[in-house]
């Protein structure tokens, strides 16, 4: 008797446990179409979302189901390629790594392009000035002497010295969170300094002198005012301000 009573109830209970609540959220997106809008403006969109989804999923729903003209960059959708840095609720984040439940789902989620780079359309900015600074620090291994005839070996400790800065995905979240960069677009910016750090402290590299020269420039590391916005924004958990401080110290202690 008992068995008969409980058996039909069991599947229903299972469904309940497995169900994830979905709810309606509002995305407040700063739209800009250079062909028609003199100024960017805010637009609200309602989408049905699960707390376990990411802001990127919500943006997809807007683009695929409501307004195909919404423009943003994304590629991997898994925090690897660095395409989708944007300002979510006033802070630089990757849309693909920000969960809806962490982004105040009960209030409108504000989404806008990153600050300090030229706005092209909606959430897309011109990344060229950012990559120009990246190129300035010569982000490639500079060997010395003759072409090597055997492997260029490195100890674990030597490799660990610059491990943190190898993790950068060039998303620009750090550089575009920096108040110094907003007002002075010439400043190399945290991401370029992180890239320089990766080679300066690599035992196989011999270009430290040239790189430090670039970083010692007026628009180099000394522009850094340690606001820690970059460290807080980095989706890869790089302690950007600490890395910049290491480069500053290297500049002071280098033997000229």
């Amino acid at each position: 008797m008992t068995t008969l009573d409980t058996e039909p109830a069991t599947p229903a209970a299972t469904v309940d446990v497995g169900a994830v609540a979905s709810f309606t959220i509002t995305l407040r997106i700063r739209r800009f179409n250079p062909e028609v809008d003199p100024e960017p403006h805010w637009e609200d969109y309602q989408v049905q979302a699960y707390g376990s989804e990411r802001v990127l999923d919500a943006l997809h729903k807007v683009k695929w189901e409501q307004d195909g003209t919404l423009t943003f960059r994304r590629s991997c959708a898994h925090g690897v390629c660095g395409s989708d840095a944007m300002r979510i609720n006033g802070r630089n984040r990757l849309a693909c790594k920000t969960l809806i439940k962490d982004a105040s789902p009960d209030r409108p989620i504000t989404i806008e392009a990153v600050k300090g780079l030229p706005l092209l359309k909606d959430l897309v900015v011109d990344m060229e000035p950012f990559f120009d600074s990246y190129r300035d620090v010569m982000p490639f291994l500079i060997p010395s002497g003759h072409e090597p005839t055997r492997e260029n070996l490195q100890s674990r400790e030597e490799r660990a010295r610059f491990d943190e800065t190898t993790k950068c995905i060039l998303c620009a979240a750090c550089t575009t969170s920096c108040p110094v960069f907003w007002t002075d677009g010439q400043y190399l910016g945290p991401a370029a300094i992180v890239a320089a750090h990766r080679f300066i402290f690599d035992s196989r590299d011999h270009g430290a002198r040239e790189r430090l020269e670039v970083l010692n420039d007026r628009e180099g590391v000394w522009r850094c005012r340690t606001t820690f916005n970059c460290t807080e924004a980095c989706p890869r958990g790089i302690h950007v301000t600490a890395m910049i401080a290491e480069v500053k110290k290297a500049l002071l202690t280098r033997t000229m």
Partner: protein
Amino acid sequence: MPKASVGTLYRGHEGMWSWVAHRITGVLVFFFLFAHVLDTALVRVSPNDYNTVIATYKNPIVGLLEAGLVGAVLYHALNGLRVMAVDFWGKGPRFQKTMLWSVVVLWVVLMVPFLIVQLGHIAQGA
């Protein structure tokens, strides 16, 4: 011509606001120094006029401005030490928030006795 996106205020953390406060206090101290150099230079032009100008400073409004100036100098100095520690002390970046709250606590501890004395002076019209 594409323009940079301005949009909402960036919601930075303690580090950003400590920097904003550092800027503001720095500008305040600069303007004080500017006025101070001018009035002190006056003593070489005419000691009598200098005395007249300095006498006008003895009023409650200037007394409150002085209190503000001390507050600004104190914050700028203490936070300046913190910024140096962030850059040149290996553990600085890790302890930046702790150091900021220490700066704030120290600032309050030093400002309270000073304000009591200063407000006393103002009340006496000195």
